[in-house]
């Protein structure tokens, strides 16, 4: 097990390195660099450009030097000092802008994953055990529709319906007074009364996919002789199903987190923009449209890291519940 974890950790570090490379490439893509943009905005505002500051910035980020040097200065700042650079639009260090929003992202996405599992498990098991029943057909149809509706379109429809039916606009994660309050039962309640909409939207596609996979896995397992044996030995139907086939069918499901998570992080960006959530998504969009590249690069990098770490956790979880992976091939 330790060897397995070690191997996975090394793979993760390499992946993170690749993520940082991609993020840096995106920072470098737009024409001009941070400094020229910075000077241009200062000049546009009529501010005096202080040559000493410019020179200090130039040295700090290595502008004008080779990409390799610039990358090294950028990544060493992140790794050694936790410094993601400056946001010229907000005139503040990137780190002060993103942590709170990233926390909200993780919170909403984490809750969406939990909801997906809680909903998909019973429905998937039911659909497999009662194959071709009305419930199974409903789950299948619902699954297809859930996969076909683009999440931002679903968010728009939800917004429209809640406005027409309840006269309320859904959006945000907190009421105006609650944004910066400390966590308390009142704030949790306020959060839940706002967060149900994004969580519903985000979990829809994933739930549909999980139901489909769980149903297929379980159908394969239910045909196997050990299930017949368990029945012949007089185990109750509930116990027969829950104790053996469901547990086996869950294994491949855990590994799906690996690709469920990128999709979730991805869709949360666009859903957050539609529903106006204080998460990393809208900040990313804004920083990209205003070419605030250090901020954008940091967000892309952190979202990538989030996904990689989530995948690692799901891999370890899978190794924990499935000995074949722990001790298996090499």
């Amino acid at each position: 097990m330790l060897g397995f974890i070690g191997k996975r950790l090394i793979a993760m570090v390499l992946t993170l390195w690749a993520v940082s490379f991609v993020a840096f490439a995106i920072i470098q893509l737009p024409p001009g660099d941070y400094l020229t943009t910075y000077i241009a905005t200062l000049a546009a505002n009529g501010d005096r450009v202080d040559p000493a500051t410019i020179e200090a910035l130039r040295r700090q980020y290595g502008f004008g030097e080779s990409y390799f040097v610039q990358y090294w200065k950028w990544i060493s700042g992140i790794v050694l000092r936790g410094d993601f650079g400056q946001s010229f639009e907000w005139k503040a260090p990137v780190t002060t802008l993103i942590w709170g929003r990233l926390g909200n992202s993780i919170l909403v996405e984490g809750l969406a994953v939990i909801v997906m599992w809680l909903v998909a498990l019973p429905i998937g098991i039911y659909a497999a055990v009662r194959k071709y029943s009305l419930g199974d057909y409903l789950a299948t149809i619902g699954g297809f529709i859930g996969l076909a509706i683009p999440n931002f379109f679903f968010a728009l429809i939800l917004m429209y319906l809640s406005f027409i039916w309840f006269g309320e606009t859904i959006g945000g994660l907190f009421s105006p007074g609650m944004e910066n309050a400390r966590w308390s039962p009142a704030r949790v309640w306020d959060f839940l009364s706002h967060a149900w909409a994004p969580i519903l939207v985000l979990s829809l596609a994933g739930t549909a996919e999980l139901i489909r996979i769980l149903r297929a896995n379980l159908l394969d397992e239910l045909k196997k002789p050990y299930v017949t044996t368990a029945r012949a030995k007089g185990l109750s139907e509930f116990r027969t199903i829950m104790k053996y086939p469901v547990r086996v069918a869950l294994n491949p499901l855990v590994s799906t987190i690996g690709w469920l998570l990128p999709a979730l992080v991805s869709s949360s960006v666009i859903v957050s923009v539609v529903l106006n959530l204080p998460t990393a998504g809208p900040l990313l969009l804004r920083s990209l449209t205003s070419q605030d590249m250090f901020l954008a690069g940091a967000i892309i990098m952190l979202l990538g890291m989030l996904t990689v770490i989530g995948t690692l956790i799901s891999d370890l979880l899978l190794a924990w519940i499935d000995p074949r992976i722990r001790y298996g091939s090499k």
């Binding site: 992946t15 690749a18 993520v19 991609v22 995106i26 893509l29 737009p30 024409p31 297809f144 529709i145 996969l147 076909a148 509706i149 683009p150 931002f152 379109f153 728009l156 429809i157 917004m159 429209y160 406005f163 027409i164 606009t169 959006g171 690996g258 690709w259 990128p262 999709a263 992080v265 991805s266 869709s267 960006v269 666009i270 923009v273 539609v274 990313l284 969009l285 990209l288 449209t289 070419q291 954008a296 690069g297 967000i299 892309i300 979202l303 990538g304 996904t307 990689v308 995948t311």
Partner: protein, 379 residues
């Protein structure tokens, strides 16, 4: 039968062909059994037909605006008219508008007025235009004879532009960008996946690592980052191709994986070994022996990749970093529907989203059916 084909292969082939079914015919027979896939095929074909005939089907120019009819609600199209005696007659028409003043919001709103009937003419003469860019025409599917009468079957947007016409032209862009993106992805996927699968070794493992890495990244932030780097002064055509390239930068991975898997499993087949022993070149083995045997799979995989492309373009354009304003696509159309106040007063602006859902559902069913039909081991 088997002996006959074994003994005289090249000469007798034309005479026995009548009794044998080609690979395509077999696939088509299997595919037809899949009713949902068959219906989906027709829907997809219909959508592409709309995309091709956009200029003929759209009653208005997609950019033509009219300040008089901002946010005019959908008129619908009535084919029959009733008279006082309750009799019916065939009289295609749309109803006109009467204006009311919304006292609360203090603004003019339009109400469809059943009293006013504006006759609609099929194959109505119009200004000359080029169908699909090269066929000169001067007739449209529908039109109203009175030049200044409002004609908004699906309603109008903020600038009084006809939503139906914009939707039809948007269909052309959105569907073609899906097709172009998949074609480009297929090109990269076959070359890279083919090399990796056929030669294996270090190149194969390197490609697989890269694919795994790209697929473990959240796509929308990446796409946004790439799209944001497009210069703002690019022309419509340049952005169109740039977006296609950006989409296929990630899209090729899935197809490359499929191609590689097929190559790996076929590499050890007897007929490939036989061709190698006959001294055929690698190129000939790949193009004449291997590719034909899994082409149907690749086509099915490519079909299943199109919805993802369409969705991605819609999402990017919706967020304002994809195609830009003068180009009409489903994504840029949905951009108008982002605001809840707009949405509440003009819910018909959500129509492009309905199109997205329909095309994605039918493409998925169609692709699934194609995949099942292409599987020689299927029932």
């Amino acid at each position: 039968m088997a002996v006959e084909t074994m003994t005289d292969i090249p000469v007798a082939a034309p005479t026995t062909r009548a009794r044998r079914e080609s690979q395509t015919a077999l696939m088509w027979r299997r595919f037809k059994r899949h009713k949902l896939a068959l219906v989906s095929l027709w829907i997809v074909a219909l959508f592409y037909l709309v995309a091709i005939l956009a200029e003929f089907l759209a009653p208005h120019d997609p950019g033509a605006y009219s300040a008089r009819y901002t946010y005019a609600p959908p008129q619908g199209l009535q084919l029959f008219s009733t008279d006082e005696n309750g009799g019916w007659r065939f009289f295609p028409h749309v109803n006109g508008y009467s204006t009311e003043v919304d006292r609360q919001a203090m603004r003019r709103i339009f109400v469809v007025d059943p009293e006013i009937e504006i006759p609609v003419q099929f194959f109505a003469p119009s200004d000359p235009y080029l169908l699909a860019g090269f066929i000169p025409m001067s007739v449209k599917l529908m039109g109203v004879s009175e030049a200044r009468a409002p004609f908004y079957i699906l309603g109008a947007d903020r600038l009084g532009r006809d939503l139906l016409s914009r939707l039809i032209h948007g269909t052309r862009i959105s569907l073609s960008i899906g097709l172009a993106g998949v074609t480009l992805s297929l090109f990269f996927g076959i070359i890279i996946g083919g090399f990796a699968g056929y030669y294996g070794g270090w190149f194969d493992s390197a490609v697989m690592r890269v694919i795994e890495f790209i697929r473990s990244m959240p796509t929308i932030p990446l796409w946004l980052g790439l799209a944001a780097a497009m210069p703002k002064d690019w022309t419509a055509l340049q952005t169109y191709f740039a977006i296609t390239i950006i989409l296929s930068l990630i899209g090729w991975t899935e197809l490359a994986r499929v191609v590689r898997g097929r190559f790996l499993s076929l590499r050890t087949e007897d007929f490939v070994t036989a061709a190698q022993l006959d001294g055929a070149s690698d190129w000939r083995i790949i193009t004449r022996h291997m590719v034909p045997s899994f082409m149907s799979h690749i086509i099915a995989a490519a079909t299943l990749a199109i919805p993802g492309m369409i969705l991605a373009e819609t999402a990017l354009s919706f967020l304002g970093l994809g195609l830009q304003a003068p180009i009409v696509s489903w994504g840029t159309l949905l951009q108008d529907a982002q605001n809840i106040r707009t949405l509440a007063s003009a819910p018909w602006l959500l129509a492009p989203g309905v199109c997205v859902v329909i095309i994605i559902l039918s493409m998925n069913f169609f692709g699934d059916g194609l995949r099942d039909a292409a599987d020689p081991h299927g029932r």
